[in-house]
């Protein structure tokens, strides 16, 4: 446990006044149990000592291999999960700072309006017994915001902005396509005029043209209301388009953070390089060219990670010390950090500009 627990909420400070959110040494460990007696066998370290910040009005990307802990980090930020340890400092509208990791119960609910979450799996997130209108306006009704007529207006106009027909309002979620359900989730998150939105694969089920429409909407809202986003996505072209800075995670740890263009052109961590090389090129003629770095070797198990650098069993630059010594985050200047022993020396390839 960190000593932060003993700091009174009012005295908390962030490293910089421009930050809306600062996460320090965040850990979320899930117990692994076995057998009917639920014997404890160990922990999945889904988020392991993760630290980062987001400036007010900024979009921070979060990328990484499937299962590396992105959703877990996002859920901790919105306090859908209680972190195992660490601080999640959040600057309230009045300027005061609160540690979201410490609050509980009813207090968590007071932030539900300002901090919103767009779920990765809309099917699981939308209550099948509620109509689209009820799903989107629920949070307003619960907080007694506006009259019913006003809420109908609001839902209507938001549905239009996400490219859906207001006529749909009385339908139930099962009657929609995957991308339509995803847009219902987006409308549900945006209805409260939030200050911070965690978007977990929020546009992954959308075709390019609807996706562009949603990305443009998110940017408009950001320009108008100084909205801040934590944007989790596998689509590196989307991340490139919408993010100012990007965090790269690998097996529960942050391995690289940089300004977006710099990460794409000059990645400093070998995992980030492999990620950039695997971006599909939109041209069937190039499909068989040997451009991708195939990640061979066993996928790391977050309950029993490799020694030293977690990436070493799959890294093509690994040296003997990588299997024994855990690399620290190297400061490469300009807000660029990478957790690789050779971050300064390696000359890694950026994304292919197709």
């Amino acid at each position: 446990m960190t000593s932060s627990e003993h700091i009174p909420q009012a005295a908390r400070q962030m490293t910089d006044d421009s930050y809306l959110l600062e996460v320090k040494n965040l850990r979320k460990h899930f117990p692994i149990t076995a057998g009917i007696l639920a014997r404890l066998k160990g922990y999945t370290r889904a988020a392991d000592d993760v630290s980062f910040y987001i400036r007010q009005g900024e979009t921070l990307g979060l990328v990484g291999e499937s299962g590396c802990g992105k959703t877990t980090v996002g859920r901790c930020v919105v306090r859908a999960y209680k972190p195992t340890a660490g601080e999640i400092l959040y600057r309230r509208a009045d300027g005061s700072v609160v540690d979201l990791a410490q609050i509980r119960g009813r207090e968590v609910r007071t932030y539900r309006k300002d901090i919103r979450f767009i779920f990765q799996d809309p099917y699981a997130a939308l209550n099948p017994r509620m109509t689209v209108f009820d799903l989107i306006s629920e949070v307003l009704a619960v907080n007694h915001i506006g009259t019913r007529a006003e809420r109908v207006d609001q839902v209507e106009s938001l549905l239009k902005r996400v490219g859906m027909r207001p006529e749909y309002m009385r339908r139930y979620p099962h009657a929609f396509s995957g991308g339509e359900r995803q847009r219902i989730s987006i409308a549900r998150a945006l209805i409260t005029n939030p200050r911070l939105v965690v978007c977990d694969e929020a546009v992954s089920a959308l075709d390019v043209s609807v996706r562009v429409q949603i990305l443009n909407l998110l940017e408009e809202l950001q320009a108008d209301f100084d909205l801040t986003y934590l944007f989790i996505s596998h689509d590196l072209s989307v991340i490139r388009h919408i993010c100012d800075r990007v965090n790269v995670m690998y097996v529960g740890k942050l391995v690289e953070t940089a300004e977006a263009t710099e990460l794409y052109t000059q990645p400093k961590h070998p995992y980030a390089e492999a990620l950039m090389s695997a971006v599909p090129v939109h041209d069937p003629v190039l499909r068989d060219s040997q451009h991708r770095i195939r990640l061979e070797g066993e996928i790391a198990d977050p309950s029993n990670p490799p020694s030293g650098c977690y990436f070493h069993p799959r890294c093509r630059y690994a040296q003997p010390r990588c299997s024994t010594e855990e690399p620290a985050l190297h400061d490469l200047g300009n807000g660029h950090f990478a957790a690789c022993h050779f971050a300064e020396e390696l000359n890694l390839q950026g994304v292919r500009m197709g």
């Binding site: 499937s66 959703t71 089920a205 390019v208 429409q213 990305l215 940017e219 599909p280 977050p302």
Partner: protein, 348 residues
């Protein structure tokens, strides 16, 4: 045709809702070639999932197949001579009957768009995958478990011998998606329908999954119907591409022709609106206009209200399928003799 595995003819699926009839699939003709990969692309809500689920005769209420055929050319390998052609019309089968249940999961497997729709949260993923294996093969429980662990390993699940006993909600989104891929592959299907199977996967995991599917395809001559929004994935794996718009296949061709010389104005706009990775943060340009009201589809060409090349006839005449080359078809009046159409339509 000998090498056609599935022949869909004039398939129409309507949803009879209180507010009106939604014509989700409005006359689809589609031939799926044996052993090839066909990618199906199109705007959100255009009917891709509804059409593909129909290939397994799964139509949710209040939907109905109102017309059309889905001819499945099954091949039984026999010791004597060539396999006999035992075709069935899937659209005609009883959706709860024996015959379709034998086909589902075994000959035709489907990876559903949202993993939680096909996994129950009550059982472990291992139990659910093993159940499918036990239902369709003669393997013992023990053998089924070993096969399941192998499959989970193949789709890149770490520590498969432990995660086989995990419940779906304890897995990440991408792990659930891969578990579902493992389940779909468990009986080496003849046709694998994959509805957005890699949306929850990062690019490196996605690359491995696409490799796996392509290897299985070569090994077992599996046919792949791949629904995706990611044109990068289409460019990587498809042999043929079908483009859907408002319930119709408006263009189909081999993948190279489609990327090089798309014929339909919608396809052209689709290829242009892809965010390029190299591009800077300027506003992206979506296809203009809103998806039309599902209860009243536009007259004439369904794309005409949003089409930059539309002309007067597009409002009234429904385009027919025109052949532009060996394997290239399009539904657009730019490629038809409009005066002739007007003349014939005036007569009838």
């Amino acid at each position: 045709m000998a090498d056609t595995l599935i022949d869909v003819k004039d398939l129409r699926i309507h949803f009879f809702t209180d507010e009106g009839v939604v014509r989700a699939v409005g006359g689809v003709d589609l031939a799926i070639t044996r052993g090839k990969t066909l990618a199906l692309v199109g705007e959100s809500g255009c009917g891709k999932s509804v059409a593909c689920r129909a290939l397994l005769n799964i139509v949710h209420r209040p939907g109905k197949i109102v017309s059309g055929e889905i001819i499945f050319h099954r091949m039984f390998h026999q010791s004597s001579g060539s396999g006999s052609d035992a075709s069935v019309d899937i659209a005609e089968l009883n959706p709860k009957g024996r015959e379709i249940r034998d086909i589902r999961g075994k000959e035709i497997a489907m990876i559903f768009q949202e993993p939680m729709t096909s996994f129950s949260s009550m059982y472990t993923i291992g139990n659910q995958i093993m159940e499918n294996i036990l239902l369709h093969t003669n393997l013992s429980k023990q053998e089924a478990r070993i096969l399941t662990i192998e499959l989970l390993d193949k789709v890149g699940i770490p520590k498969p011998s432990r995660l086989i006993d995990e419940y779906p909600f304890r897995l990440s989104g991408g792990m659930r998606q891969r578990a579902m891929i493992a389940m779909a592959l468990s009986c080496s299907p003849t046709l694998l329908i994959a509805d957005e199977p890699t949306t929850a996967l990062d690019v490196t995991t996605q690359a491995n999954i696409l490799d796996l599917m392509q290897n299985l395809q070569k090994q077992y001559e599996m046919t792949l119907l791949f629904i995706t929004h990611d044109l990068g994935v289409v460019a990587e794996i498809a042999d043929e591409v079908a483009v859907m718009y408002l319930g119709k296949i408006i263009e189909k061709s081999d993948v190279f022709t489609l990327f090089n010389s798309p014929a339909h104005p919608y396809t052209q706009a689709l290829l242009k609106s892809v965010p390029k990775i190299a591009m800077t943060r300027e506003a992206l340009d979506p296809i203009k206009g809103m998806v039309p009201n599902p209860y009243s589809r536009p007259s004439g060409c369904p794309f005409h209200p949003r089409c930059p090349k539309a002309f007067a006839a597009c409002k009234t005449i429904v385009p027919k399928t025109t052949s532009l080359g060996l394997h290239h078809t399009v539904q657009c009046l730019l490629y038809e003799d409009v005066t002739e159409r007007q003349a014939t339509e005036a007569l009838s």
